[in-house]
Symmetry: D2
Subunit: 424 residues, 4 copies
């Protein structure tokens, strides 16, 4: 963790300017009929989960270039997550990936208390082989042609639920790499039915107060077809499974040009929006920092979420899911959490009554302008004030850099090797 004194000292430098900007924005919003304090309160209450694996430097099939002080295990990762939450006040939960983060529940809970964190959705891994496994996932996992392989994958998911229950998680996220690389390799219908049968066995073990979140993806690691290729298939799966099954939307898992905010609206309409993996992308599942490529799209997604808030039972999970290949992961995760908050704050100040009127009157220009006005409002003072008031940093990245945290952990953590990926 960062010393509280360090944060306070940094904040003291920035406080005056922040108050000036906050007041000016408050006055402007007041003219638009918006109470800045109410927006700030909602932003302050908002949290987005951190994926444990996001704290390590990511890579591609070509290479991985780790930095100094890479976390070596889940306890290191939780230390990093603790710092992220300390400085942003926006990331109260961490999402574990099994088996990477497997550890005794008691140890995990102790670490959570130490780092002031709780546990978000559990993530199973049936896309990699592990030394202790009897069967390989080379040709699939939950949809494999061999019942024994499917059974191994099912049992791994059951284990994740079991561990998750001990540590206070309330959801299991299932993403599989199953698919095919050649036309003909897999029989689409039989493969899908095998997936569905396996998923039903996992679903049967989902506790009553849990959710099963299934995730679709158009390609990678399979390059001709994937079993859960899009939201349509994902919806069918969730519907076949039951009420506790919902769909998870990763912003980078869609075909080019697809209107993602509309998919969000469709899933909301049919009660199956389970949550998000936030990131950004330009080409494929690039896993870039949230809001770094197309921030307006992120706003439009939140526009749907804010619009749907209050709908009975509407409670999607929010998590970052990024690959930090060229930045310090802690910095990227802090910035990205703030970008998510920013989109949320902008969506909160949309004049929804005016928008609704323009929509009903087919006034396309003013409907667009209504969204744009909210979007172009610089809500940074709201976000910063929310952080400041809860003892987090006005300027998280600068405060983090000045703290020397990375250099400090680099002294004790082992050096990580930068192996090549799938390229041989």
């Amino acid at each position: 963790m960062i010393k509280t004194d360090h944060i306070s000292a940094a904040n003291a430098q920035a406080e005056t300017a922040l108050r000036t900007d906050y007041d000016a924005l408050g006055e402007q919003l007041d003219r638009r009929g918006i109470d800045i304090a109410a927006i700030k309160a909602q932003v302050s209450d908002y949290g987005v989960a951190i994926p444990s694996w996001g704290t390590g430097t990511g890579g591609t099939r070509f290479a991985r270039f780790p930095g100094a002080g890479e976390p070596a295990n889940i306890f290191d990762k939780m230390d990093d997550c603790g710092v992220i939450h300390q400085l942003t006040g926006a990331t109260p939960k961490v999402s574990l990936h099994i088996p990477w983060d497997d550890a005794p529940a008691a140890d995990l809970l102790a670490k959570a208390e130490e780092t002031n964190l709780a546990f978000d959705a559990m993530n199973s891994n049936t896309f990699q082989d592990q030394p202790d496994q009897a069967h390989s996932y080379k040709y699939g996992s939950l949809s494999h042609t061999d019942k024994a392989v499917r059974q191994q994958a099912i049992e791994h998911n059951l284990y994740c639920i079991e561990l998750g229950q001990k540590i206070g998680s309330e959801a299991l996220t299932v993403w599989v790499g199953d698919g095919s690389n050649f036309p003909g390799q897999a029989h689409f219908i039989r493969q899908f039915d095998r997936y569905l049968d396996s998923a039903k066995e996992v679903y049967a073990a989902i506790p009553d107060d849990w959710r099963l979140l299934t995730e679709h993806k158009i390609f990678e690691p399979a390059f001709y077809s994937t079993v859960v290729q899009d939201w349509g298939t994902n919806y069918l799966i969730a519907t076949e499974l039951g009420d506790r099954a919902q769909c998870l939307v990763d912003l980078g898992h869609h075909a080019p040009n697809v209107n993602i905010e509309m998919i969000v609206a469709r899933l909301i309409r049919f009660g199956k929006l389970g949550g998000f993996h936030f990131n950004d992308s330009k080409y494929g599942d690039d896993d870039l920092d949230t809001g770094s490529i197309n921030p307006y799209q992120l706003f439009l997604v939140f526009n749907e979420l804010v619009d749907a808030a209050g709908t009975l039972g509407f409670n999607p999970a929010h998590m970052l899911d990024q690959s930090h290949n060229v930045t310090d992961p802690i910095e990227s995760l802090m910035s990205s959490a703030i970008e998510v908050q920013r989109a949320y704050a902008q969506a909160l100040i949309v004049d929804r009554d005016a928008l609704s009127g323009f929509q009903d009157g087919n006034d396309a220009l003013m409907a667009s302008e209504t969204l744009k006005q909210a979007y172009r409002t610089d809500v940074e003072p709201i976000l910063a004030m929310a952080r400041f008031e809860k003892g987090s940093a006005i300027n998280p990245v600068a405060t983090y850099r000045a703290s020397g945290y990375r250099a400090q952990v680099a002294e004790t953590r082992p050096v990580s090797s930068g192996a090549g990926g799938g390229i041989v």
Copy 2:
């Protein structure tokens, strides 16, 4: 129609070579355990419908360049469709578009008898304004914010059903241009619910032995969002409506890179594949000639269809839907009907037992090779022999050209003007 003598004379020239090639292929297929006569019989029984509008030269928003002898009305169009079926033996039905093809049922039936054709699905048009309409579809039709506009669109569909019943049609295809051009212009959920409500009123009028086919499209003429943007939404619509509602798949209506054959498999699996609009595309809804850009994809679609043949109630409608901007539409429609037959024939000769074994054994290379072997088989002699034996042309395009049909109709049909499209 073309004179029978003309066709016979042309065929006489080509018969010897055809028999040679047919016999050689028959011998080769026999070695592979396939009875060429059985394949030929299935091909001979196969038909794909012609869209009446396909017989006129199409265009873009930039321009339309009509040729000589453009059909001026549905009766001209049916004359052209009659020629297409006469020469190919593959297009027994024509699909009408209302109001373009509106005419007294008795006249349509008489013309059908004259041209040896029947009527396929009816197509409604609520994407263009007509002089006699009270309301404009500028801001939508079935999903319009104004109930009066929706009602007008509903009633137009009811009229299409009514006319269709009189002429022996058994389906209504509904495609709408509804959507939005700006984020915010339309409220996604309310717009969708309005669509659904209107569609339910149309569905209520669908006769028991009819089907309602709804069509999805990712973009154009709306450029930010469309109400029925993809197969997922299309599936939800068909499910909400009922058993007689199914999804229509147009090969050019998907996002880039999307695996269309897999969508076909998903719709088959959930009982909602209603039919196809065949064409080809490289960029968007290019409406190019079927099989002209990616013939292997067409084969893979038919691979799914042949695989599913025999499934209870499986009976998708097959129709071409193309825009012929630079070719004689009759020639393109004949060639395209044959391309569809070709893909069907190739799919019929897939060794499905072997394929199934390779799939179960995760032998990806041999599974792919099994499909490729069928695909690379030159089945042209089968298609040509099927045509020959039913009195159609061995070489439809050459026979058509030599007939002088186009020059002949050009003498009596009025000159069509090539106006610009939406460009002003």
Copy 3:
């Protein structure tokens, strides 16, 4: 034109709030070392040209839905452009399209003086047939296989230059629809060489102080290949022609996912960036309002332009090119001109020294953050103050609506018919 009193009265209502917001922003920018007055001066000097055709309601191949008071000719269009410039102060020039806007030079000049406008680049049209033409462009224009058709297209371009010289234009923009719809239809190399030969004849007539701007486009109206498909081919053309030939970039003419701002940088680097057609798109050449879909991309383009400003001979043309299908074109053009200004203003306040340092130090996160900080600054007060100070409207759309201009011109302009497009 709008009455000056009307504008003044509207501005009087908004002035106080504007001054408050402007001062608050000025103080914030001052803290960041930026002089708001200097930014305002640059914005005030900036202009983007209006395409004459943008003032009419656009359409698609499916339909066009005109509004009331559509301009019937170039003089109506210039009246509308005059209003746009009066209210925004941002659009001092209009770009003509021949033959749509053909008229005696003296009349055009007189109208320009009346409406306070000048003439930007001339646009030739060889993608539509005209009644008085001997040859059709169905199979191409500058690249047609027939020399006579190419000659007709060349001469049309020469005519555009001739007219343009009389009215003070300084550039000719050439976009052709030439391409092919089938593999094999055109021989790529021979077709390109014919284009190049024709373009050389046009180039030979380009006056010494003019520029020839060629425009690339990946597809539409040709759907398999286009002659000038991308910036690579466009660059080769400009290079083959000579120094006065440069490349024009339309934001909607690229393949999905392409990094357009990088193309801008490449063309700058090699001295061939001639100008822009600004608009926005989600799927293809959607011609949506600038900044309505991906405003960050627009900012990134301007980031390159501001970065290159001052480079010897760097002077790209800026023009809007949009199709207004569901909005009042005057409103869309005003909003879009302001969106262009907004991106320009945001790019002006990028801390370039800091950015350069982060780039040299491979500090990816802070480099990104430096751009984002400028982008998220709400520069609206700068734009509004620039308008206000030159007598334009603080709120152009509201002021326009209140003026009753559209209803007024609708009384005298003929009703426009909403024909279908290329669909038959």
Copy 4:
């Protein structure tokens, strides 16, 4: 190597059927004015190079699932390449990747003689860090901001040339992973200029009878921009460097929907087509087996190559570049080499005089049909006969499987571990 007796015995089983099919095809082609023996001779002379790394099982950033008997070093890889060439007669050269394949030249030459192979282009690697390097390529190589890193990358390329000269290679292929993951991370122009400066130093060392082949790629491993993003930039590089520099086209390195065969034509037209990395893809750089996804596209590429054959100095390099994640790499490489030959044979039998006439006459339908007729011809008997006559296998995959080669090498080669990729 496989025992000659084994091949002969397998061929003996298949010879009769082959001769029957070959004769039938010969008769059909003869009717079309084509001499089958001449086509066979050209196919027999044709060769495509094997990338050494293709012999190992590939993977993704998620995982790699190696098979039994993975090659452990370049000598194992050359053994595998020797088998591929032995059975197909189509792959006389192997392309080395340094440092993966680094070895004493004498040893490489001895192994080449043993395996009956020669060496194709050398491939440098500046996208991965190596234990003995002073500098990391995390932020780039030839375009890195630090001169020392660029120098290291340059020297590595010089080493590759040096080694290549000793073993009879005649080209260096340079692909770099340089780019950026965030807008702003890299200054596009300065980064490009650094690349160009480095490339000039490499070019200066290219022997007179060598070529430098640069390769473009739209994304991966960089996900916002790449330094050599498309053929336009690639062309500019090759032009800046000089006559011995040419562009390499990898079929999977383009934006969605891009017309690759047209790019090939453009590069041919301007003398800069240096060669190919053949593979296939559906979504990105999927590196799937050549011809497995879109075989018609492969044919269209070869249609351009055959059309340009005979052009002075036209001699593009042909190499496979695939990632075999779910198949035995030897099988995939054999099948893919044959797919390349197939496309070549099909392109050879295009009736070019007829095509040219249809193109000049704007007969789009018959131009398309001319290509399709050649494409749908099943040329397998030609390919098989060419193999048979040179002592290779009529059925390479079946013969390979029956030989037991993989099981045999698995006994002596070490087990390969399936590490995860860039995912942490």
